[in-house]
């Protein structure tokens, strides 16, 4: 094996162990309490997993994106909320790494992220944009008399694990005169930020992500504004990476739902050897649906791996359609698999306290179509399909 493959394998061995020994153990309590998965995130910090994607030249472990996506899958099988916190953090790290553009401040920031295992949350959604991440209302506003600093105030309908993050990556209009689509991304340290809660957090699923709304206010040095315009950051990195990592989690959740259904069928078969097990037929149907989900997730990863260095290609409509479709297909398929798996298990799948419980999986997977609403993505795709040639 190459050195890089060894590093990936060691990283994934650590994640496997942590997923079983920690994430799985606390998953039900995290879910019941709608509480932050502290134990899992602490364990990820101990394994330096929060800086996995940081290249070695900044002190990170230079783990491949494929291995991080696999880690999202592995964690998703054990605790969807822990996996989602992990994935959302990695999306921010990957985005910063891919758009460093030689910024000394961001290079130093990566070194600090490695040393302190800082957790980054994102503040991209905003009240008043109708869920359209490519528009902002709040603006980065220069401070009179101090050209090196700026302020902002943003009304965020959800900030996942906002209260637990060390830093926030925030989208804003570039200046008070900028149009809604003229956006930048700004890194704000929690210590420079105040979060004023605007609601409570008691959702159906993904309860451990702790994502209430906040008014986010901060004063930041302008060196913390990423150099590239946010529309290119979004197209070339943030959107496809989000869809890839999320869909690996949803595949993980659906896979565990399938595994529980299979365990149920095996238990039934053992109780009555030689007798037909009606649920076994249903399980076969679930497998068909799971394999479609897996195929879409894996082929999207392959498409990404072939194109990830080619920014021009990533910015084409054909690619936008590809990764939007991944999100749509995976987010619709994962709850379908979970629901069918519950149908296999029957009442013991419906109950929350059996080895075959699938309620959490079903509820967690139902968040998938809301994380950037599918109807909005369909609307975007509908426009792109008018002009794209090969899809």
């Amino acid at each position: 094996m190459t050195v890089a493959a060894d590093r990936d394998a060691a990283f994934l061995a650590g994640i496997d162990q942590l997923a079983d020994a920690i994430a799985a153990v606390h998953a039900d309590d995290v879910d019941r309490g709608a509480r932050f998965p502290t134990e899992t995130i602490d364990a990820l910090r101990e394994q330096r997993a929060l800086s996995a994607l940081v290249p070695a030249e900044y002190g990170g472990d230079g783990i491949s994106f494929e291995a991080v996506a696999q880690a999202c899958f592995v964690l998703g099988r054990r605790c969807g909320a822990s996996a989602m916190v992990f994935a959302m953090h990695q999306i921010q790290v990957a985005t910063i790494v891919r758009h460093l553009d030689g910024s000394p401040w961001f290079e130093d920031y990566l070194r600090e992220l490695v040393a302190d295992q800082r957790l980054i949350a994102s503040v991209t959604s905003e009240v008043g944009t109708g869920g359209d991440m490519s528009r902002s209302v709040a603006a980065l506003t220069p401070i009179d008399g101090d050209p090196a600093r700026a302020t902002f105030e943003k009304q965020a309908p959800t900030v996942s694990y906002g209260a637990y993050a060390d830093d926030l990556l925030v989208t804003l209009r570039a200046s008070p005169d900028a149009g809604p689509g003229d956006q930048v991304a700004v890194l704000a340290r929690q210590s420079d930020t105040t979060l004023e809660p605007t609601g409570t957090w008691d959702p159906l699923g993904m309860r451990g992500t702790c994502s209430p709304g906040y008014v986010v206010r901060a004063e930041v040095p302008v060196a913390q504004v990423m150099g590239a315009p946010f529309p290119s950051i979004s197209t070339e990195s943030m959107v496809p990476i989000s869809h890839l990592l999320w869909s690996h989690i949803w595949l993980g959740i659906a896979t565990d739902a399938f595994d529980r259904a299979r365990a149920f069928v095996r238990a039934a078969a053992r109780r009555a050897p030689g007798e037909p097990v009606p649920a076994a037929m249903k399980l076969s149907h679930v497998m068909t649906q799971l394999s479609l989900l897996r195929a879409e997730v894996h082929s999207a990863m392959q498409d990404w791996t072939e194109a990830e260095a080619d920014r021009e290609r990533l910015s084409t409509m054909a690619f936008a359609l590809r990764f939007n479709n991944l999100k749509l297909a995976a987010s619709e398929q994962a709850p379908r698999v979970c629901q069918q798996a519950m149908g296999v298990c029957g009442i013991v799948g419906f109950k929350n306290d059996t080895p075959f419980s699938i309620g959490r999986h079903l509820r967690d997977s139902m968040s998938a179509s809301l994380m950037v609403a599918n109807e909005r993505i369909h609307q975007t795709n509908a426009g792109l399909l008018l002009i794209a040639k090969e899809v």
Partner: protein
Amino acid sequence: MSFPAVREIVSEHGRLSVDVTTLSDDDSLYEAGMTSHASVNVMLALEDAYDVEFPDEMLKRSVFESVGSISSALSQLDVQVA
């Protein structure tokens, strides 16, 4: 003013918040208020007006960034842009 025919299409379909004649060839249409959705309509109108098809590799933000970039893309498709 250069590329008046392209400007007319941009003006009709780009939903700019400013008058297209006030923009230079290189000024960003996105900064002038063109949304991604409006840019699709600009592309469709250009394909229709010049009887061309933009290949997928040209269908990206940077190609439709400005009057100048649109005009040079059209030239690459052998369209005589006035």
